[in-house]
Amino acid sequence: MRADLEIIAQWIQPGSHVLDLGCGDGTLLDFLQQEKQATGFGLEINPDHITTCMARGVSVIEQNLDTQGLKNFDDQSFDVVLMTQALQAVRRPDRVLEEMLRLGREVIVTFPNFAHWRLRWYLMRRGRMPESKTLPYRWYNTPNIHLCTFKDFEALCHSRQFRIMDRSVVDGQHRNHWFSQLWPNMLGQIAIYRITRQEDIQ
């Protein structure tokens, strides 16, 4: 199990009803079903991933967030709404986060941190848009149209009154290092956040 998925699994109560936006091949949902007796759905648009989900018994719904939205889901109908490594690829991440918090009590998102020192160094040294193993695209063909940093994300949460419940960080191989926890905005490659609405905190 990848470290980032393990961290996410730790934050999920047994028996939770979970929605995973961009669930990929269903690895995480499958794990949550087996280990946490979780129920719920994944949303996906990649045909091969959809087939894999179906083959492994993960409930998957073909739905495009950007064009179809999430209107077919009722308010507060999930315990947790997840999105791993896809927030930076949607048209309006802020609106997607609002929608996720409409559907679920808690939201867990992961995204690549654009302030990682290697990316900073790449940009400074070469003066060109950084490319890395985590971000292997050119500026003109990348699906990652809204890259942000730990600080950017937290500023958005602050302005929208999203309460950050937990924060964690892993590297590009999804490993968890103590040193990146110390200075995540500089040393963390992948950010993992658990957020909720301000008023939901007692």
Binding site: H17, F41, I50, M54, A55, S59, Q63, N72, S77
Partner: protein
């Protein structure tokens, strides 16, 4: 005519007629004291009878879903593309049951059968049956075959409605329902098309208020028109365009009213062939079963509340160019399933073939269908 059977065919199959003498009271209030259902099965029922799959047919379908009745057959069963060794509904793993529904005209008791009370054909006196009535008779069939719980109930179009109804009426008697190119209820436009088809039949002078058997005639022209209009709704603009375009039978315009465009002669041919083999009263009955289907009706039109009865898992599939039951209709069903916290998977298959796409083995359709059924099979064999 195939010289030999393809290796992925279920081979030569023989239908069997089962007689039921437990009376059934139908939704319309009438009772049938006895009835026959004609059935085909493929594959082998396993020891604990957990590998049975029920195939439900659509408007003009029947029990002959796969294989050949003889080597002289020109074509295999209507869903041969999906049923057989190595196909999505793999007969090496599943025991597959397909029947001709009550009210049909392919051997099961229907309007053209003899009414045991009068010794005459039922004709128009055969009661209107509903999807739920069919499901009850299919449950009686399951009892007869020793099947307490289906591994899956599978159907396209009107067949998908039966799979959906199964999940609500007998929630503990199926583990999976596969609802393909279907809808939770007909739209006004759907009903309108059915009404045109029915009027075509009932206004044929040979219809004789449904008593045409007494007169030794068949309302051929009406049936033909009904099938022609129906057939248009099964295809897409794109697939008709690709198949026929504006192609003419002769090189130049004839400036007359005969079938000049290829699409015209195709529709006439389809209509004529259909009118030779299908019973007009059955056609009327089947279209009414479609019109009446509305499982939400009993639950204040709240489909999600209806679906709270269901215990099985669902696979819902739609096809991008299906304008009879559009992807939006499937998505409406999926939305209600999500609200009801049913376990559901959904895919919209990109296909040019319109509503008929559910009969055509396009690659992604076969992949998704096969992946889902493989998993159903794994649960069975545990």
């Amino acid at each position: 005519m195939p010289d030999s059977l393809p290796p992925d065919s279920v081979g030569i199959v023989t239908p069997e007629t089962l007689h039921f003498d437990t009376p059934i009271t139908l939704a319309c209030g009438q009772t049938l004291t006895e009835y026959d259902l004609v059935v085909e099965t493929y594959g082998t029922l396993n020891g604990d009878a957990s590998n049975a799959v029920l195939i439900c047919h659509a408007l003009s379908g029947h029990h002959h879903a796969a294989g050949y009745h003889s080597l002289a057959d020109r074509k295999p069963g209507w869903w041969d593309s999906c049923i057989g060794p190595g196909k999505p509904i793999d007969t090496n793993k599943f025991f597959v049951v397909c029947l001709n529904n009550l009210g049909g005209c392919n051997g099961s008791t229907g309007p053209s059968s003899i009414d045991p009370c009068t010794g005459q054909p039922f004709g128009p006196d055969f009661p209107v049956v509903t999807v739920k009535d069919w499901v009850h008779t299919q449950a009686a069939l399951a009892d007869r075959l020793g099947i307490a719980c289906w591994a899956a109930v599978v159907g396209g179009s009107l067949g998908g409605m039966q799979a959906l109804q199964w999940s609500l009426t007998y929630p503990d008697r199926l583990r999976h329902a596969l609802i393909i190119a279907s809808t939770p209820r007909l739209s006004a436009q759907n009903i309108a098309f059915n009404e045109v088809a029915r009027r075509a039949i009932t206004s044929d002078p040979d219809f004789h208020a449904g008593r045409y058997q007494d007169f030794g005639v068949v309302p051929r022209r009406g049936l033909m028109l009904a099938r022609m209009v129906g057939h248009i709704t099964y295809l897409s603009d794109a697939s008709m365009g690709e198949k026929f375009g504006r192609e003419l039978r002769e090189q130049v315009y004839q400036f007359g009213y005969d079938a000049e465009f290829q699409v015209e002669s195709y529709l006439r041919y389809q209509g004529e062939r259909f009118s030779e083999s299908f019973d007009a009263n059955t056609y009327l009955l089947m279209t009414k079963a479609l019109d009446y289907f509305d499982p939400a009706y009993e639950f204040d039109n709240d489909l999600a509340r209806a679906l709270q009865q269901a215990r099985c898992q669902f696979l819902v599939l739609s096809f991008s160019t299906d304008w009879r039951f559009t992807p939006a209709r499937s998505e409406e069903l999926v939305k209600a399933m999500i609200a009801a916290k049913n376990r559901v998977s959904y895919a919209e298959i990109d296909s040019p073939w319109g509503h008929d796409a559910f009969l055509i083995p396009s690659p992604r359709y076969m992949q998704v269908f096969g992946a889902y059924m493989d998993r159903v099979a794994r649960e069975v064999n545990k």
